[in-house]
């Protein structure tokens, strides 16, 4: 009779203390089996696992997009993670044996373990939209001076390229619902378009290619309170611009990474929880005296779509994780040509 072991104990028997083991989604399930050798000259020559539920062997977030490795099911031992909660998951192991005459027999009895893969609770993201669209002068370093920026939020200090600004970005997204583990954020920029006009000319557009914003995980997260992510896209307004419009649509993905499982040999991984779409659309205009109005015209900001959308395994090819192939790349000033 084969046996499935986990964390140093058998979990495939009927013993009440070992039945229905619990694991959190994102924690490693490292299973080993017995027997490894057979009496009478028989040898184990093939293994087969049946593991229902959405599971992967490995998670990796390289710069070209998340890579998920399918769980290996043809070896005596296996290791994987469940990505979504599910109760009463029948994990079954069988093996093939070869007799001394090299005949393969594949009718071993089943070893079955019944798992419960648990979520940390009802996780969600809430959005706090400042509804601030301001034109602020930031300090440039080459040449020394200032350059106006259309901002979502309220930042002051150095312009990009000259140091780090201070202030409050326009949107905060706060995760809630988990009493353990840690939140992980990833932001996909769906559209980032800058439109500007010059006197007597129609609008010109340039923008960024959609992609992952800033790397994985998203860097705009409060260090002291890492359940809060924030963002405040900016757009420079150049001397000959008469208007400047920023159109920004993004999806903030919330993932959750459980604490390390005691006794496990591998680390836990972040699992998809859901995403919140948000936007910022505003136009900066000059007044009759040619000065930029401090308050830009805010067309849209904050939540977009149907609120927080929980992830499902069917969302995309990576089971509801954020999908990207590149970091966001900005081609303003390159392919579109800049008129100044």
């Amino acid at each position: 009779m084969p046996e499935i072991d986990w964390l140093g104990r058998s979990i495939s028997g009927d013993h009440p203390q070992t039945r229905n083991p619990h694991v959190q989604i994102g924690q490693p399930v490292e299973l080993t089996t017995k027997p490894t050798t057979l009496p009478g000259g028989f040898t184990v020559t093939g293994s087969n696992w049946t593991i229902p539920g959405t599971n992967v062997q490995q998670f990796s977030p390289p710069i070209g997009g998340i890579v998920l490795t399918p769980t290996q099911t043809d070896q005596p031992n296996t290791s994987y993670y469940w990505l979504y909660p599910k109760d009463a998951i029948d994990v079954v192991y069988t093996y093939c044996a070869t007799d001394p005459n090299q005949n393969q027999i594949c009718d071993s009895p089943e070893a079955k373990a019944v798992f419960n893969a648990r979520s940390p609770g009802s996780l969600a993201l809430a959005t706090d939209d400042s509804q601030l669209a301001l034109v602020k002068k930031l300090d440039t370093c080459n040449p020394v001076g200032t350059l106006p920026f259309l901002e979502y939020g309220n930042l002051s200090g150095p312009a990009p390229g000259c140091g780090n600004a201070e202030g409050d970005p326009g949107i905060h997204l706060t995760a809630s619902g988990a009493s353990s583990g840690s939140y992980v954020f990833a932001q996909i920029v769906d559209a980032s378009i800058d439109q500007y006009t010059h006197a007597g000319q129609g609008p010109t557009s340039c923008g960024a290619h959609a992609g992952l914003d800033g790397g994985f995980p998203f860097p705009g997260v409060e260090v002291q309170n890492p359940r809060i992510a924030y963002d405040g896209p900016q757009m420079p307004l150049l001397p000959n611009d008469v208007t400047g419009t920023r159109i920004f649509h993004a999806s903030m993905y919330l993932l959750w990474q459980p604490d390390q499982l005691s006794g496990a040999g591998t680390a836990s991984i972040p699992v998809p929880i859901g995403h919140q779409d948000w936007q910022f659309v505003a136009t900066a205009v000059r007044n009759a005296r040619g000065k930029w109005e401090r308050n830009a015209i805010l067309t849209a900001s904050g939540n977009e779509g149907n609120g927080f959308e929980p992830a499902t395994p069917d969302d995309n090819a990576v089971y509801g994780y954020p999908q990207w192939s590149h970091l966001v790349s900005n081609d303003c000033g390159v392919s579109q040509g800049v008129q100044q």
Binding site: P61, N164, P219
Partner: protein, 192 residues
């Protein structure tokens, strides 16, 4: 006479503002988030007066998939930068994304030792951006994978030398400017 007096007043006021601004630029800041007048103010952490660099930088080719030093023309050219806090307090890890995380300077030379050709973004650069504020705990390392082809052309096969640097705002040189901490150099090969 009145005009002279008001000019003096303006001058003195300007001096006071200038002195207080200079003073505040050197103030310590322990956290990226402070509450001022009931409002959150995000900003970089500051520990002025450092007598040695606050961090080290290292660079390697490739990303979390593993080391890689050969790339094809037109493909992503990825390097991973590691910044390690060598102090006994939190240090700043703020930056802003425009084409890349531009708190780092990316230095690339061709086989002849000449600076490799950069993509021109205009001056001033019209590209939009966003700022973030972060920190590194004592002894800890944070990594960033950069796609160098976003700012360098890499349209000719050959070997290129890459190095990154980053200003240490807490460790100033004799003229009061931040010292740039440099990474190791690596060689990458661009193939046709």
């Amino acid at each position: 006479m009145k005009t002279h007096r008001s000019s003096y007043r303006i001058l003195i006021l300007s001096l006071i503002v200038a002195i207080s601004t200079a003073h505040s630029a050197q103030e310590a800041r322990e956290s990226n988030v402070q509450i001022k007048n009931g409002v959150k103010v995000y900003g970089p952490i500051r520990h002025p007066g450092a007598t040695s660099p606050s961090f080290t930088l290292s660079i390697r080719g490739g990303d979390v998939d593993g080391p890689r030093y050969e790339f094809r023309v037109g493909s992503m050219v990825v390097v991973t930068i590691s910044m390690t806090n060598v102090t006994n307090h939190d240090i700043d890890y703020s930056g802003y994304f425009r084409h890349l995380n531009e708190q780092y300077s990316y230095l690339v030379w061709d086989e002849d030792g000449k600076p490799a050709e950069k993509i021109s973004f205009g001056d001033p650069d019209r590209s939009s951006s966003s700022q973030y504020w972060s920190a590194i705990s004592p002894g800890k390392t944070k990594t960033y994978a950069a796609e160098l082809e976003q700012i360098y052309k890499f349209d000719r096969p050959g070997k290129y030398t890459v190095q990154v640097s980053r200003p240490d705002d807490d460790y100033l040189d004799e003229s009061g400017k931040p010292v740039f901490v440099k990474s190791n150099t690596i060689t990458i090969t661009i193939t046709g």
